[in-house]
Symmetry: C2
Subunit: 341 residues, 2 copies
């Protein structure tokens, strides 16, 4: 991030017509945005949510409350024509309400998907291998999806995106997300494994056991090794989105737990990536708090979302635009002729 | 609120393409919006923030970190021409960023204000009396401002507002807000008195002592008596905005502690008003949590705002529009042909 712009932003913040600190976290957010965009008057406008969908071999192990066919059905839902506009899922409705563009990627969905002009095809395999038994992806497969995510991020940026939101859909994907989080943060599986779409009791204990078994299979610690062993195609794609956004000096809004697992791989590869990440909400999924603590970042809201798709990120976009607007457009005490304390 | 619409909304929520509960608090918010707007497809669009400004006799007692001249200077700031558009204060910048309309009311500012076409003049007195010594307002004065607030809310609704945000500016006004809160919730002044724009240590203890002395002066408990004794002109105006919004079946976004004190008077008068109130953020001001607990409502974010002006309310507007969008525009499992758990 641009330290000079951040310093200029801090100095400007201190002069704006409000008591010092009265805008709370918006002030620090505005300074971080100054660092990302390299100016003390950041003006992020376009918002893009890139929803990557992938299936998971691990879904065969009964780790999810939903059947794997839901992944492909939801991709169709993301693309469907509806009376309100394109897409009938939560992320579509929220994106329309804030004026965000939705990009949909087949990162490795098992079901055959119908041709659709807005579906970006990047699958190299119809779902990962079962990570309980073997590596989920080869290095080449993981890298292909990282590059596909980066390419779609470049497209979104060309289309005008300043705020990029990696989102995901993949039945079973809180399992690889928990495995990545456990390995990268060196925590036990139980500390980072949550209910996902709704497993509980014995099913949750089974999910923890499956993740422990997977982690016991391989002691890799190199970030790309960890991603290939325990990750997923949509997680690799989201990592690519994040790395490209940072390289292009755009901000990344970080939605939930699965997105967070991609971010952990990202900061292990490139620590400076953290400067470009803005967590949206405190996700209800167990393990999310540990991710944010590791990233040293504070979420903007706590609405108890645990849907994924990038939904929380879309909701947070107006908050970031608002933070930037205060820094950019407010007058100083001197400009306004307002007496100070 | 419309119970039938809320029930239809609950049934619809349970069918939408997401795991049950995965949209967290957005789901309950969407159901409440259905109740306000009388439809299970609520579509709140226009956002209006009505900033009422007033001065306070109590400011002479050293309860604020800022001099009283700031009230009038900030009104000028709300109305100023700036390169970014009308108004150079935080509320103006945030309103532009979410497309909200700003209305500015002189509810009783001490300083002479220049003529301005966008300034609504409703003052009946240049600031309240010193509530430490005597009633802040007469009943007639308080009622005049309630009616003025209601009239401006009607204007905003005519202009297209579905979401109304009462906001305020008034040096010293966390003191009347704390006095109102203490009396209406039957709490000691120390439990509801905070730092306002920045008083601390001995100054904060003095503020508490002043409020205790004021409360000791009169044992009124009737809501309008309490408002007149311990309130302020901008608080009365915000109460009028809230009552009119509810009567017109529009939603009120509740910003911070001073707004909360007006809401407490409102629900004491008309308990059903609470159905129309949507608290924006957890305000950093002490006493706000007690207000929300009494109202039985949960805030949407915690950004540590303590500015007033309606700033938090403006930031929350896109969250409410998003909640409504999910209920209105998402497809059901049946419509989308997505398998369920």
């Amino acid at each position: 991030a641009d330290e000079a712009a951040m310093q200029a932003a801090r100095e400007r913040q201190a002069q704006l017509t409000k008591p010092p600190g009265a805008l709370g976290d918006l002030e620090a957010l505005s300074v971080r945005l100054a660092g990302v965009f390299g100016t003390d008057r950041p003006d992020p406008q376009g918002v893009a949510v890139i929803v990557a969908a992938g299936d998971h071999g691990i879904a065969a192990e009964g780790v999810s409350a939903f059947p794997p066919e839901v992944t492909g059905a939801m991709v169709a839902n993301f693309l469907a024509d509806t009376p309100a506009g394109p897409g009938g899922a939560a992320v579509n409705a929220l994106a329309r309400s804030v004026g965000a563009q939705v990009y949909v990627m087949d990162a490795g969905v098992a079901a055959g998907l119908p041709e659709h002009p807005r579906l970006v095809r990047a699958a190299v395999r119809p779902g990962t291998r079962n990570l309980r038994r073997e590596a989920a992806m080869t290095h080449a497969e993981a890298e292909a999806l990282i590059l596909a995510g980066a390419a779609l991020a470049r497209q979104a940026i060309e289309d005008g995106a300043d705020l990029l939101i990696p989102g995901e859909m993949g039945i079973g994907n809180t399992t690889p997300a928990a495995a990545l989080t456990a390995r990268l943060l060196r925590l036990d599986a139980a500390e980072v494994t949550g209910r996902g779409t709704g497993v509980d009791g014995a099913a949750l204990a089974h999910k923890v056991a499956v993740i422990r078994e997977a982690l016991g299979r391989s002691d890799v610690t190199d970030p790309l090794d960890v991603l290939a062993e325990f990750g997923g195609f949509e997680i690799a794609a989201m990592l690519g989105v994040m790395l490209q956004a940072a390289a292009s000096r755009r901000a990344v809004i970080l939605d939930g737990f699965v997105e967070g697992s991609a971010a952990l791989v990202g900061v292990a590869l490139v620590p400076a990536l953290a400067d470009y990440l803005f967590p949206a909400g405190e996700c209800a999924e167990r393990g999310h708090a540990a991710q944010l603590a590791h990233l040293g970042l504070r979420p903007m809201f706590r609405l108890g979302l645990r849907l994924g798709e990038g939904t929380g990120g879309v909701l947070a976009a107006p908050l970031l635009r608002g933070a930037a607007a205060t820094l950019r457009e407010m007058r100083t005490f001197a400009e306004a002729g307002v007496p100070t304390a």
